[in-house]
């Protein structure tokens, strides 16, 4: 795995440059919508990258990952509703609550394997969804409007589109760097080894489950951060963020971009959300076009977009 100039790295570098320069383009052309769309994309890219840590590197098929988006979002929304507007309180709480939720869910669901793991993570996320629907003080089913974005004491103004975009982008790059360090660390080697062959890892002396649990918690926490960004972006949080189809969206982004490749989920989020946007302009039956497209990538491009790019660079 050298850092040579192959197709994957070239594409990743181009995308990074594009993301960095996007606000300039948006300002020059007056295209505000591009910035709005890509703020959303960057937030989902962060959420998908955190899912990639458990699913791609850890081999844990969590089908309830959107729960952390909701939990991070509700932490911000509820605190704002109760008059605590400081981001220095809101965000740490969002991360902490996500981490605790992941700890409990992980401790229970990691006792199972395969399909059972998928179902149990799904079930917990749906529970979170219904709990949120029942929070009548905080809007219940209708959701909760956030009238004021997180306040960072003048350090950064989240109501400025450009500043908020760069904050999201900073979180994404920071998250990716963290994940990159983690997967190459001793800890990451254990988690990846367990994905490859669990019995072997136990036979050479690793208590696999506790490493998996920590990985699960780290991923949940990162996704909680994405949730805090999400709530600030939409100025609104509702149970639908946690609905199982949203977890499915995140999974599709990871698989589409390339499971177990650092940059794959970013590409997956870009392609998925941009396509959704474009196709829904053409027809309201956009899912009819999206479905087969995804199918093609999964069937012919094992390893997703990153897998396809890898093949080009080898030839």
């Amino acid at each position: 795995m050298t850092a040579s100039l192959n197709a994957r790295n070239a594409v990743a570098a181009l995308v990074v440059a594009g993301l960095l320069l996007l606000p300039l383009y948006s300002q020059a052309s007056g295209n505000v919508f591009a910035l709005t769309l890509f703020t959303r994309i960057v937030i989902f890219a962060l959420a998908a990258s955190s899912l990639n840590l458990v699913m791609g590197y850890g081999g844990m098929m969590s089908f309830g990952h959107a729960a952390y988006l909701g939990i991070g979002g509700y932490a911000v929304g509820i605190l704002a509703f109760e008059g605590i507007g400081s981001g220095f309180i809101q965000w740490p709480v969002a991360l902490l609550v996500s981490a605790l939720f992941a700890l409990v869910i992980g401790a229970l669901s990691l006792r199972t394997r395969g399909v059972y793991f998928i179902m149990i993570t799904l079930a917990f996320a749906q529970m979170a969804y219904y709990v949120a629907s029942g929070l009548s003080r905080y809007g219940g089913d209708d959701g909760l409007t956030i009238y004021k974005r997180s306040d960072f004491a003048g350090l950064i103004n989240l109501s400025s589109r450009v500043q908020f975009y760069y904050l999201c982008l900073g979180c994404l790059f920071g998250g990716l760097y963290l994940i990159w360090r983690i997967v190459n660390s001793r800890f990451g080697m254990v988690v990846r080894g367990a994905r490859s062959n669990e019995a072997r890892m136990q036979a050479i002396g690793f208590p696999v489950t506790r490493y998996r649990l920590v990985c699960f918690v780290i991923a949940g926490t990162i996704c909680g951060l994405a949730g805090a960004l999400f709530a600030n972006n939409t100025d609104f949080i509702s149970p639908s963020v946690m609905y199982w189809t949203r977890s499915g969206d995140l999974m599709v982004m990871v698989i589409l971009g390339g499971m177990g490749s650092l940059f794959g989920p970013v590409l997956g989020a870009i392609v998925y959300l941009a396509l959704e946007e474009l196709l829904s302009r053409i027809t309201e039956y956009w899912a009819l076009i999206m479905g087969p497209l995804l199918l093609l990538v999964v069937v012919f491009g094992r390893g997703g977009i990153m897998g396809l790019l890898g093949r080009f660079s080898r030839e």
């Binding site: 080697m189 036979a203 050479i204 002396g205 690793f206 208590p207």
Partner: protein, 255 residues
């Protein structure tokens, strides 16, 4: 009198109505190469799996290095110095040979809750991996991904991984399985060297190898030890010949 390194007492493992291990008792003395033979279905792999902690015995006890390990999970046994190789090659297929061995060294180098430093850059882990690979003759294949290694090389790598955990006792489950004639001969030569450093329990079908290597042989039939002794004794044992028939003839002829 000191206790043997491994002591199995009255071990029973039931699968439904079948006793795969039937009141089995066995001692393995430190420094010996103890072979376990027996026809297919005799319960050899079931026994190994109970020793390593993959299977829970129904009753009985296993003591290792003076400690009762009957209920210990697999990873704790590994920490105590019990290493195994798998009958069906069981490595990390998408990692390199060196990664596989380095991970085994890492497992015995304190906990692994280090999230930042590059594990592949840790010199002492890589050095440990290199020397274990050199020990089995794989040093030139260190950076090859496991799935690209030949079957014989994977068998050697299994040994290197086990050695990297610095074991007191090595449980080898058919290390010759699927090897060609020359590869088998190399493996025998390798085991011949390793036995000087570590106590070995060898489960093997290759009778030439078993009789060439073993200090002591135990014969397993229907989950029971029907004979246990030096190779010469086993070769002459009438009960073994009867139980074993085809393979026993082979023993006599080759031996």
């Amino acid at each position: 009198m000191s206790e043997p390194l491994l002591r199995i007492e009255n071990l029973v493992k039931r699968f439904g109505g079948i006793k795969a291990t039937d009141n089995l008792s066995l001692d393995v003395a430190s420094g010996q190469l103890h072979a376990i033979i027996g026809p297919n279905g005799a319960g050899k792999t079931t026994l190994i799996s109970q020793l390593t902690g993959q299977l829970r015995p129904s009753s009985g006890s296993i003591r290792f290095a003076g400690q009762d390990i009957t209920r210990l999970p697999a990873y704790r046994r590994s920490r105590l110095g019990l290493a195994r190789s798998f009958q069906i090659t069981s490595l990390l297929p998408d990692f390199t040979a060196a990664d596989n061995v380095a991970l085994a060294a890492q497992a015995h180098d304190g906990h692994s809750f280090y999230f930042w430093g590059n594990a592949r850059g840790e010199k002492h882990l890589r050095d440990a991996a290199r020397s274990a690979l050199a020990r089995v003759g794989l040093e030139r294949r260190a950076d090859v991904v496991v799935s690209k290694l030949s079957h014989g090389e994977q068998r050697q790598l299994e040994l290197a991984v086990a050695l990297a955990t610095k074991p007191l006792l090595l449980l080898l489950d058919e290390p010759m399985a699927g090897l060609g004639v020359t590869e088998s001969a190399d493996m025998v030569k390798l085991l011949q060297e390793l036995r000087r450093e570590v106590t070995i329990v060898l489960v093997e079908h290759d009778m030439d190898a078993v009789f060439a290597l073993a200090d002591r042989i135990s014969v397993l039939v229907y989950g029971r030890v029907i004979a246990s002794g030096a190779p010469d004794v086993i070769r002459k044992d009438e009960e073994v010949k009867r139980a074993y028939l085809g393979e026993a003839h082979a023993v006599v002829r080759h031996g």
